[in-house]
Symmetry: C2
Subunit: 228 residues, 2 copies
């Protein structure tokens, strides 16, 4: 870990709480749809709409609102009441206006690393929404560079590392998703720390065991400093 | 104009055709709403919803779809038929999948400038949608850097120019909007060329006469080379 020059942090569920807001919205969605679904049916229609729309809409709350409406239309076989659609628009606006809650201990970690490494925020999602969250977080000044990507796959990280003008083995990515934050970076020859969050979106889950000296699995953000 | 090192191009309606797709979608929207509006009433409800939602949703097609649905609900006093909402979702998807049409002569201009200047694309809007259009355009290789901004105001340009590591008077912005491409850059001490497009969104229109030696008003992109 001695050669690390740049540390990139994922944002959602690494710097601040995100996934629980989506889980709450999903719950509200299925409550609105309760009359149209068999009891105890698996809640998959919304997830399926999201995944189908991902290539066209991308990530973020606006895409989620549009997928809620689309899934609602499908679940009700085009009999969804307008009040439910209005409620979905409101759920989306509430998500966009939700308060920002920092992950415990993250400000202290950034404070300790500042000056010793070039710190970067590297996240996917909606441009305006991520900028707004960064501003609300009060963490903006810790970061030398903000990268908001449409995807967090290998080519996106390759571009980022080139842009930072460093070889991959001077790059460390820290995040809560093995799929988006860890695997593509390790594949490129970079370092990665996985700091799991208690809630992970189904789409981000992967079953894998990583044995690699450029990888660390941590319990919480406080442990980051033990390895740097 | 001798000291210019970096030339930034706006994308929508500067590199490729954009606004006519929004005008067509607006027309389709008002056709769907024809039964609910007095004949010859000014088409303003959709525009008002867009402007109201701008701080929360930002620019781009997904925001436009959500504003169509919201305006439709308001215009019909909550009696909008579901078929109209489904049609609005389809209009949005068609916009996202629309073919890309380059502005006449732009590829030749970029070809001529390449190597002599550092070329940048600087646009606002939706991250994924702009990346998709850039890829469809075949112009990506001309650009040294792509900047997709949530707003094109003075602080956003200030950050971009700092990031490019040049003084403002080595920066030239070329675009079709006086409000978003020209005025904020001139205020910062940069250069700006205005290349009007035949259709301009109401929100981007400003009435102003600019007398400034760092400014040029051109008839079309072909004239760019006359001044460089």
């Amino acid at each position: 870990m001695k050669n690390i020059k740049v540390i990139a942090f994922d944002a959602d569920d690494t710097l601040w709480v995100n996934e629980p807001y989506f889980r709450l919205a999903e719950k509200q969605f299925y409550e609105l749809m309760a009359d149209y679904l068999p009891k105890n049916s698996p809640p998959s229609a919304l997830f399926q709409a999201q995944i189908k729309n991902l290539p066209l809409y991308g990530y973020g709350i606006k895409s989620f609102i549009l997928s809620m409406i689309e899934a609602g239309i499908a679940i009700t076989d085009k009999t969804i009441p307008l009040t439910a659609i209005i409620e979905m628009l409101n759920i989306g606006k509430e998500m966009l206006e939700a308060p920002l809650e920092l992950i415990d201990g993250i400000a202290e970690v950034l404070e300790a690393l500042q000056g010793k490494y070039r710190l970067v925020m590297a996240t996917k999602g909606d441009l305006l929404d991520q900028e707004r969250k960064l501003e609300k977080s009060g963490l903006a000044n810790y970061f030398h560079h903000i990268e908001i990507m449409s995807e967090k796959k290998r080519p996106n990280y390759k571009k980022l590392i080139q842009h930072l003008d460093i070889p991959p083995n001077e790059f460390l990515m820290i995040g809560n998703s093995l799929k988006s934050d860890v695997l593509p970076v390790l594949e490129l020859g970079g370092h990665a720390f996985h700091v799991p969050f208690h809630t992970t979106w189904e789409y981000e889950r992967v079953e894998t065991t990583i044995v690699e000296e450029r990888f660390r699995s941590l319990e919480n953000v406080g442990e980051i400093l033990d390895f740097l």
